[in-house]
């Protein structure tokens, strides 16, 4: 336990001295918060007719979601969904960056061999590295969500705000996001062990983000409307892949393999 803690502290001390990592962990969440809050603020200054959405109109693709709401309210909900979905890029992209640098960095610095010569077990080492990537990712995601909620609470009428604290989004942020984080860390770990440039590792592992990007795109062109079913499906899918990946990494990462292949 003490050794895992040592690894985690070491990773943080080292990895956060890297500008690119710092940018991803701090700047990206800021953008992800500023974007929706800015949009909401802009929307609040709009004026126009407040037609109730009752018949089939422009908002038809939102389905039953908008029945009984005005057009602008419906647009707001649509935007909220899009932005919250975009927030879910964070738990995927942040750990990829950290993990890619923490492992490939170790390889390029040639510090792995002395590390493996210590009485740390392979599981402790991998756990430490994974936690070091997972915690900041989940932390940044939840903190961003909290700030986003607080801002939205101020700018939105309560009857719209409830759409944000909907069980679907709570599930997405608090359950599905950590599952996605684990998925991207495990993927980054696997890929990092095969390449020797952190940027390549980052780009390859960044592919994990594709499903989220597709959802965001689908949502923005009105092709997919995010709903509870999709969120649950995403969570279950991530959980299954997580179990597989963790099982695989524990099987695959033997000391000798790490030493002779991670170079």
């Amino acid at each position: 336990m003490q050794k895992i803690k040592t690894i985690i502290h070491k990773e943080w001390a080292e990895v956060f001295k890297n500008r690119l990592v710092l940018f991803t962990v701090i700047f990206l969440p800021l953008v992800m918060i500023a974007l929706p809050l800015g949009t909401l603020a802009a929307m609040n200054t709009w004026s126009g007719e407040f037609n109730n959405v009752q018949e089939l109109g422009e908002m038809q693709f939102m389905g039953e979601l908008c029945i009984g709401l005005t057009e602008i309210e419906c647009t707001q909900i649509y935007m909220l969904n899009l932005f919250t979905l975009m927030l879910m890029i964070l738990p995927v992209i942040i750990p990829v960056t950290i993990a890619a640098y923490s492992i490939v960095g170790e390889k390029t610095a040639r510090s792995l061999e002395p590390l493996l010569a210590t009485p740390i077990t392979t599981i402790e080492l991998l756990t430490g590295k994974m936690i070091a990537a997972i915690v900041p990712a989940i932390g940044a995601t939840w903190l961003s969500f909290a700030i986003y909620l607080a801002g939205a609470r101020l700018m939105l009428p309560p009857r719209i705000f409830v759409y944000l604290v909907d069980p679907m989004w709570l599930l997405a942020i608090f359950v599905v996001s950590p599952l996605l984080t684990l998925l991207s860390v495990a993927t980054a770990l696997m890929i990092s062990s095969r390449v020797s440039d952190p940027r390549v590792a980052e780009q390859l592992a960044g592919m994990v983000i594709m499903p989220i990007i597709l959802l965001v795109l689908g949502q923005s062109v009105g092709f997919i409307i995010i709903n509870q079913q999709i969120v649950v499906l995403l969570g279950v899918g991530a959980a299954i892949i997580d179990v597989l990946l963790v099982y695989l990494s524990v099987r695959v990462f033997q000391r000798e393999m790490i030493l002779t292949r991670w170079k």
Binding site: K3, T6, R110, E113, A117, E256, T260
Partner: protein, 300 residues
């Protein structure tokens, strides 16, 4: 302290270490010599439980490689061939990490002790990336010693250091020897091996020979005496060549070199013989072969 028996390592189809059998007693400084790619680093990695042997067995500190790996790791120190440091972290932080990983009882105290001992205390707060190669090597040596291992593996400890830094590291190794630690050194520096090691092995995938540096010299070249004469030595060669104690003789310009079993007994006879025949002897001395001569003879 270190014991191997037919220890072998194969990488795919490439045999890197072939049936190595060694016995290194406690407190010995053991030099492991061999050309590039001989399998020295591979041997060290097996003995420190970093990679598994393909066949054969080895024990270190009584613990068996492949079975008691954690115990081996706890009890040995290793300076790896390319000792990477955490460049963004300070010297002090680098050592603290390893003190914790080795579960050192008083990490702060130990780190302080070795920073002082290796002359890095003043620079303890500086990032490792600002260190010179010699300082980095010293920091890596400190890192290998934090848990006070009784067995120490040093893979080319002075390679790439300037003479002064190399000297410092060598003196430090000599101190470690004084403390009774068992030290296994891979080196290409034969002079260093000659001075530091109780015994040396010449190794190139197979073990060629193990002996004390002195023993090796004798084993290969016998003991040689050189007579410095006042004239061309060739004409005196025949005068001594027939002497029964002489196994071999050579003449180079003014020097007559003879190989004999027991110079202490036979030198007076030879000198008398040569003088009686009128040879102008200027000096008589023992011809010292360097370990380098031995080594080159063996690996060729």
């Amino acid at each position: 302290m270190i014991h191997t028996e037919n220890l072998s390592k194969k990488f795919n189809d490439h045999l890197a270490v072939d049936r190595l059998t060694l016995e290194i007693p406690e407190g010995e400084v053991f030099g492991f010599l061999g050309p590039n790619g001989a399998g020295k680093t591979t041997t060290v990695r097996m003995l420190t439980s970093l990679i598994a042997p393909t066949s054969g067995r080895a024990t270190v500190f009584g613990y068996e490689v492949g079975r008691d790996d954690q115990n081996i790791r706890r009890n040995v120190g290793i300076l790896t061939e390319t000792p990477g440091l955490y460049d963004r972290l300070s010297a002090h932080h680098n050592l603290m990490i390893f003190a914790n990983l080795y579960e050192v009882p008083d990490p702060t105290g130990q780190v302080k002790k070795y920073l002082r001992l290796l002359g890095l205390w003043e620079r303890r707060a500086d990032a490792a990336s600002t260190f010179s190669k010699g300082m980095r090597q010293k920091l890596a040596i400190a890192r290998a010693l934090l848990h006070e291992p009784r067995v120490l593996f040093l893979d080319e400890p002075t390679s790439g250091l300037d003479p002064e830094a190399a000297r410092l590291v060598r003196d430090f190794i000599a101190e470690l020897k004084e403390q009774g630690r068992t030290i296994f050194i891979c080196t290409h520096n034969l002079d260093e091996a000659d001075r530091l090691c109780d015994r040396v092995a010449v190794f190139n995938t197979h073990l060629r020979v193990v002996d004390t540096p002195r023993g090796l010299r004798q084993q290969l070249f016998g003991r040689q005496v050189v007579f410095h004469l006042g004239e061309e030595a060739a004409k005196w060669q025949t005068a001594v060549a027939s002497h029964p104690a002489i196994k071999h003789s050579e003449a180079h310009e003014n020097k007559l070199v003879v190989t004999l079993e027991d110079p202490e007994t036979h030198n007076p006879e030879l000198i008398r013989l040569l003088v009686s025949q009128g040879a102008p002897i200027r000096f008589v001395g023992e011809l010292r072969r360097t370990l380098e001569d031995v080594y080159l003879q063996l690996v060729r």
